[in-house]
Amino acid sequence: MAEDYEPRIVAFLCKWCSSAGSDLAGVSRMEYPPNVVPIQVMCSGSVSPLYIFSAFNKGADGVLVSGCHPGDCHYIKGNYYARRRLNLVKKLLEYVGLETQRFQMSWVSAAEGTKFTQIIKDFVKELKPLGPQTKLRRNP
């Protein structure tokens, strides 16, 4: 694969914790690779499996869903639903043969700019050796 391959990542960030945590990374002028494009959702619980399939279908090399820490959901329990639902999605993706590293979930609070930065750095690092995702891509 080409040396300059840059994985494309879509990150679904909940408004209250992870998007705020990512804002904090910005305010603190931390640095992470620009491969990730964020989509702010209200709650990780609103992330439908359709979003994840759709992102892979449209050529995403990795998808991240990040919400409030379990127990700290702004909407009381949305992230618990997310955790259950997305674990099934993870299994399904594994079943269809997608590399497990391509789909990640994380819990990042509004105070965890450092953690968010690290997650993105690690994610990009893990995706690079895998090369472009073609398994679920419509027109590879």
Partner: protein, 649 residues
């Protein structure tokens, strides 16, 4: 929507330094539904906002995207600008290209590419946004204040003085918090009791304040303007209306337990008044200690000697339900647990005390009537070592943060000690002296110059007992010499931590906590008294370590914010709530089961949304197998287009 305008902010060089804003504007202009794209140095400034308004009017825009900082900062600013130009404010969206792009990347071409994607994704979203009007709901004009320390008292008084009703809940038998335990306050050496007790009395006598001591918040539901709270009123077994404070009951009570008010330096009976000036002025029979674990029936001696018959063993816990419009959380702090400070001999040696215990020793109402005596042998200590940052600023072992007040109160302690024991010597081990505050630096200087306090810069390595003395080994990092002091008493400036139980309360109120367990404010700079939940405000040390003036200022700030809500006729609720696409809904009820707010109900085989209860979280959307329930202005179709935009190009 076909006529979208895109406005890209340079934010000085904050965005333009890493993102080629002209290029982003050019790229966005190519989008089929974008009819206007421009950049400007500060979009949020008056001329910047005018640009937006002008473009909306002249180009008849039906959607606006502002690519700038986080929506948390200026979403409202730009939505208001759109509204002024006659556009529905929900047709304005923010693309966050500062916090989530320019500030975290250095490679300009790549950051520009990413910013373009973020802005394009916002264009896709706004294209399908509906015009919405805010939902309006009535306001319950009453406030709940949780915590009866100085912050809670101040907030309650400030709100009540504007004419609104306040319920003040305090879990202890008396209001006053930690401040009432202090002897004097820095930097003026005001007597703490003298400045606080009048406020306590004022609260108890205020016609608009309902004071509920020995009570705890059990449950909170609802939303801003309309909270429903359940408060548990624990039984005190004493009727305050009948109690004459004769103190006969404590004389006969056989059960002695450590006195919380004196931090265990003295004992108290199972029936007690925390301190003579307690508000409400009444006794409490502590049913955790009475009857004692070895007998199953209370001895009843207190009731026998009670002439006014104020003691009632049949009192039961009560759950009181109330409706309030706003909630102020002022749950304060506790000192860092002494069990954790074994290295300084805390909890092992009787003469190693924490700051609050030393306050009680200095206090005229304390166990020694204001004489500073060693708890072990009641002798006057001639050499006292104060250790600052005990548990603070130690990320490896204890708390990483600075507890902020310890530099000042340690200087005060050393000073008070010298005022009591003229021939004594005070030593202070410190890491840094942080004396920012009005009159604070002068106060520390006064301790050194007038009271001869010896400041030693360095950490203490070991504290141990030897021949009746407490040996303190440390190092003076300024001279590089190791130091050994044979002290009579050691006082630890223990770190402040969130008060016990604050975490559980935060869960009940759905408040966020920071990494240290303090309550998280909505924005560290611009919204320091608001919580992340609308209608809930923070005051005092529950939010972060702070001293009395700061706690009072924050309490007044929180009260002002609370009154701003209570004085509204109606409140506006975000209209970005769930909507049901009726012909797709099969009435399976899966969304009803997952809704965290009970906002969904089944009626005639279809789901209905209670728009006032719905918070728009979208958990229902992800649950519905038929995409029959969508959150307005963030539908699955919109997200699909946004995903496309994020991956395109």
């Amino acid at each position: 929507m076909k006529r979208t305008g895109v406005f890209i902010c340079h934010c000085g060089i904050n965005i333009a330094g890493t993102v080629d804003v002209k290029k982003v504007a050019e790229e966005l202009a190519k989008h089929p539904s974008v009819v206007h794209a421009e950049d400007y140095v500060y979009m949020c400034s008056d001329p910047g906002q005018n640009l937006i308004e002008q473009a909306i009017r002249e180009k008849k825009l039906d959607g606006v995207v502002v690519a700038c900082c986080s929506p948390n900062l200026h979403e409202t600013t730009f939505r208001n600008a759109a509204k002024r130009a006659g556009l529905n404010s929900f047709r304005c969206e923010i693309a966050n290209i500062r916090e989530q792009c320019s500030w975290v990347h250095k490679d300009k071409p790549k950051a520009t590419q990413k910013a373009t994607k973020i802005a394009r994704s916002a264009v896709e979203k706004v294209r399908q946004n509906e015009s919405l009007d805010a939902l309006s709901v009535p306001v319950t004009r009453r406030a709940l204040v949780v915590g009866g320390g100085i912050s809670g008292l101040q907030a309650a008084l400030d709100i009540a003085n504007t004419g609104f009703e306040v319920i003040l809940v305090e879990r202890n038998p008396s209001v006053g918090g930690h401040m009432i335990q202090l002897s004097e306050t820095f930097p003026t050496l005001d007597c703490s009791q003298c400045i606080l007790t009048p406020k306590m009395v004022e609260v108890s006598k205020h016609p608009k304040i309902k004071l509920m001591t020995y009570s705890e918040v059990q449950d909170v539901s609802g939303y801003v303007g309309n909270f429903k709270v359940k408060i548990l009123k624990k039984p005190t077994y004493v009727d305050p209306a009948k109690c004459t404070l004769c103190d006969e009951c404590t004389k006969v009570c056989p059960i002695v337990v450590p006195n919380e008010f004196d931090l265990g330096l003295t004992g108290r009976r199972a029936i007690y008044i925390p301190f003579p000036q307690a508000i409400p002025a009444s006794y409490t029979l502590d049913d955790k200690n009475c009857p004692d674990p070895f007998t199953t029936i209370a001895c009843g001696k207190c009731a026998d000697v009670c002439n006014p018959k104020a003691i009632d063993f049949d009192q039961k816990p009560e759950i009181i339900e109330a409706e309030v419009g706003v909630i102020i959380v002022a749950t304060g702090y506790d000192l860092y647990d002494k069990e954790n400070m074994a290295e300084y001999g805390f909890g092992k040696y009787a003469d190693v005390l924490d700051g609050l215990q030393f306050e009680r020793l200095c206090s005229a109402s304390g166990p020694t009537m204001g004489q500073i005596l060693r708890p072990s042998d009641h002798k006057e200590p001639k050499e006292v070592v104060f250790i600052q940052c005990s548990g603070s600023r130690d990320p490896e072992n204890h708390c990483a943060y600075c507890s902020k007040i310890c530099c000042m109160y340690t200087a005060k302690h050393a000073m008070l000690y010298k005022h009591h024991v003229h021939d004594g010597q005070a030593y202070i081990f410190y890491i840094d002296i942080r004396s920012g505050g009005k009159g604070y630096e002068e106060f520390v200087q006064r301790a050194v110059e007038e009271d001869g306090v010896v400041y030693l810069r360095g950490k203490v390595s070991k504290v141990f007992e030897e021949k009746g003395k407490i040996m303190v080994w440390g190092v003076d990092t300024l001279t590089g010499r190791s130091i050994e002091i044979a002290a009579d008493m050691v006082v630890l400036a223990q770190a402040m931590r969130p008060s016990t139980g604050a975490q559980e309360l935060a869960k009940k109120l759905k408040l966020a906590l920071d990494k240290d367990g303090f309550l998280a404010e909505a924005h560290p700079k611009l919204r320091p008294v608001e919580s992340v939940t609308a209608g809930m405000f923070l005051a005092g040390a529950a939010q972060a370590p702070k001293d009395i003036p700061e706690a009072v200022a924050q309490a007044s700030g929180a009260a002002a914010k609370a009154v701003a809500i209570l004085s509204q006729d109606r409140l506006f609720h975000s209209p970005t709530v769930a909507k049901v696409i009726s012909n797709l809904c099969t009435g399976c009820g899966m969304c009803v089961a997952v809704c965290p707010y009970d906002a969904l109900t089944l009626k005639d085989g279809k789901v209905e949304v209670n728009e006032v209860l719905c918070e728009g979280c979208g958990t229902c959307t992800a649950t519905c197998l038929r995409s029959a329930i969508q959150v307005k202005n963030l539908t699955q179709q919109q997200v699909a287009e946004m995903i496309n935009a994020c991956l395109g190009g």
